[in-house]
Symmetry: C2
Subunit: 319 residues, 2 copies
Amino acid sequence: MKRWVIGADLGGTLIRAMRTDLDGRMLARAEVHTQAQQGPEAILGRIFEVIGQASEGTDPGEVLGIAIGAPGPVDEQGRLFDPPNLPGLREVSLRERIRDRFQVPTFAGNDGNLGALGQLRFGAGQGVKHLIYMTIGTGIGGGIISNGELLIGARGFAAEIGHQTLVQDGPICGCGQPGHLEALASGPSIARRARERLAAGASSTIGQYREGGNDVTGKSVTDAARHGDKLALELLREAATYIGLGLVNLIHILEPQRILLGGGVSQAGELLFETVRQTVHDRVMSPVYKGVEIQPAALGADVGLMGAVALVLEQSSSA
Amino acid sequence: MKRWVIGADLGGTLIRAMRTDLDGRMLARAEVHTQAQQGPEAILGRIFEVIGQASEGTDPGEVLGIAIGAPGPVDEQGRLFDPPNLPGLREVSLRERIRDRFQVPTFAGNDGNLGALGQLRFGAGQGVKHLIYMTIGTGIGGGIISNGELLIGARGFAAEIGHQTLVQDGPICGCGQPGHLEALASGPSIARRARERLAAGASSTIGQYREGGNDVTGKSVTDAARHGDKLALELLREAATYIGLGLVNLIHILEPQRILLGGGVSQAGELLFETVRQTVHDRVMSPVYKGVEIQPAALGADVGLMGAVALVLEQSSSA
């Protein structure tokens, strides 16, 4: 009998789903705009729609399971807590609703955690039992693999690794607290620093790398840095130093073998990684921690979908 | 047949051992001064001596196992890396040497990790699957229980939870890095801040609580705070705020159900715990994290020994 797995990803902008075989080979995919402002039932309808499209032509008995990832704290029932861009989903169990609709085993998790599972099974973390995946984009999140298993904490809310205080009374984070890594090194934070410096009269070409008529973004800074802009290089080094310090904390707490960096800011490549690695090398408390590998994550924009597929496979094999 | 367990603890000042039954009831104990300056073989001789004393009158076949805890990074073979007060032990496998001498299954671990295991099995963490144990004394260390199991990382070096950067360019930590929690809230750090403030002319009774002819210590500050000294209270609040911020990081990363604080500084009791709890309440990124319990650790000075006993029992049951 043919067996398929469905992975889905609920984001603030897009809802996506993918069907793969048991080896994670993609066979079908679908996506739709979230239109979160239309409320939870409309969002659920669209989740059903993309899952339906991705599973088209299959028999329900052939689907091993469905998993869905979502941002922010998500419990094992797939209830979203504090979803900043997805209001109204707090009381909804995504897991229950999807299971009721499609009548197959269903799972849910935080998108950062699923990203780590995706790296472990299909990406740049294969064979690594102690792994940290950090995604640096609009926010900073991730997932932790400890001894080969996802570390989710008491209710699934662990691994909020972007929310470490690094600067007392530093800039306010999206979560409302001061000085978190996310507020110092995410794309919007880098862009904010660039705008501050430009407003203060710094000489730089960053403004030339704005897209359309838009304001300066993290990508403008990265693009300018690639062309040798000094301010842009300085701002990336600053962000990379904070990322390195955050990783040092995680290394001391978790002692991983490998750390994978993904997300838009990681696209800066060696401009970022060099300073991250140097900071880790310089700031770990003992030489025993210097061997940790710091590498680019794999799977690109599909990391959440592949992570959801990995969750189904993991849960099905352990059942 | 009677079965016994031997727990041992190698410290910079004392080497201790304890024999218990399989329920952790203490039946014999022994201790000796470490005299670390005499070198590794002399230390090993004294470890054998206290283990021998604690097992006196038992038959080798009756001993289920021996475990030993030691400070700093310790690998599973019981090799000490960077032991600041125990030079020369780096190349020695405590585990192998003790096993060869006593011919029973032997285990080794970091004393903070064993402390967490001790709390889980015999102390204030019984029945808690997601637990953090933090000891705040001369240094700040601890252990992490995730999903009922000790989180030790790739080689046993995880859970160095006192070595998080909280203040960029802050005071230098014992490990050589700036601004770590340990450099902001350990007993010696609190004493250093007190001496700085007194030298700068602050009005305080802290000096009256020195012991013997000694300099001001963390305990002097705690004692003065208990008697209402304003500077002492302020210094404790400052340390407790840093401890709270460090715990917030750990809560976001690990999502424990309970956190246990032990060690000399924790003896300040509510003078410390009140501010720690308030800081955690105020500084977690989401209300979902506010329920974590923050309580005093149990087992007092025997935490390391009871943790070693717990390690033997855990390893023996999983074998």
